[in-house]
Symmetry: C2
Subunit: 215 residues, 2 copies
DNA sequence: TTGCTATCCTGACAGTGACAAGATGACAGG
DNA sequence: CCTGTCATCTTGTCACTGTCAGGATAGCAA
């Protein structure tokens, strides 16, 4: 394991059908494509194998079963999830509240760009949440939110219930927005253009911070 | 259709295997039980038929296919969903903000009591959202939220963007809380006893109303 | 009694995930 | 160069799924 050659698989690496070269990474890519096109409820392990141009039983040698594959995919999802938020934050004012808003907009960005993957990460029972690698990745995403709030409240939410309540509120807001948007249930927001929508969402996110030096 | 004898099916109504008497309602009950025990991702139409003590092809005569059954079940879910919220509101102070909070707590109550059904209603692609009966039921649930906000803002959110923003915020908050709670991702809230948890959630819900006569 | 029809069953089909067993090729030791 | 070893991948099979076709049953009206 851990032989993920960082996406450099594919053309040039294999000559025959056997010993693909980097089938594990290819399967993860194929699984993501399968997830994006079929949705999580019509996801098929055999479809993934077909996408990777490999027999239906090949994935079992790299991931034990479908749960193993989806657990690995969810792990990658959480890493990219945090990346999307941080990328948003880098192009935002270096001010705690603006940073929190940017993180929240990144949260929604990720969900809208990868709705099925988002559902796999947050709403599905298929990934093994007790898998240590996945648990670490999702915990890292949560820790990031905690730190964003801490930067505003100047108190560690882990020790201050009021600050932790802010964390819960901020999380619930952005998660609710994301989940309802990808469900197509927020016509009011979806009918707006992106800048307006983000302005409204920023407003909604920031009204939730009860503590800290409110401007 | 429409021959739902309001749950009075079962013992006493049938004598042979044929002409169950109220198989449609029995199948809906069985489907809900199947959903609650297996979860939405392991839901099986044949399992529903087995629960109802009927052949695997019997459901097709009352609901065309699995989507038909799940659409009907989601419709019932939305009706009970609104009922749960209104029940909460009846035992709450007759004051707009308290009523909104009660509605939100009912929202979360329903999700925690029927997690798989909640997911079917909000996160699943299986029900046919274009089905007019289901669309009406889910629209009624949304209208209820709109009216709860209208009672606070004294403005119709349909004509006032600021009030509609309050609707989006309130919805996102309670939906995010509900979804994250049934996903088991809010350890902070789940570790609390029910009164404390509801106090925190009430606080979170009510800090979102920007408009109206704030006390 | 004779149809008629809604209701329910049996049987079959392709598709699914998981498992067993065989085929292939890379690679190390002689 | 040859041989054995082993991870990798394939083929074949199983039980299970949803859907469809066709047959069986019973209520009911004429």
């Amino acid at each position: 394991m851990d032989n993920i050659k960082t996406g450099a698989h594919g053309a040039g690496a294999r000559k025959t059908n056997y010993h693909h070269g980097d089938l594990r990474a290819a399967l993860l890519d194929a699984a993501e494509a399968e997830l994006a096109s079929k949705g999580i409820e019509a996801f098929s392990l055999r479809g993934v194998a077909k996408r990777a141009g490999v027999s239906h039983a090949a994935p079992a040698h790299h991931f034990n079963d479908a749960q193993g594959l989806l657990t690995a995919l969810a792990t990658i999802g959480f890493q990219r999830f945090v990346d999307t938020q941080e990328k948003r934050q880098r192009s935002a004012p270096r001010e705690p509240r603006a940073q929190l808003a940017a993180s929240g907009l990144g949260y929604v960005d990720f969900a809208m760009a990868n709705p099925a993957l988002f559902r796999l990460m947050f709403s599905s029972q298929k990934p093994d949440k007790k898998d240590p690698v996945l648990a670490d990745a999702s915990a890292a995403a949560f820790d990031k939110l905690v730190k964003d709030i801490q930067a505003i409240a100047h108190i560690d939410p882990h020790t201050d219930p009021v600050a932790m309540t802010d964390v819960m509120a901020a999380w619930a807001i952005v998660h609710g927005l994301a989940d309802l948007l990808i469900a197509g249930r927020m016509a009011f927001l979806q009918s707006m253009n992106k800048p307006d929508r983000e302005a409204v969402m920023t407003d909604i996110i920031l009204r939730n911070c009860s503590s800290g030096p409110v401007g």
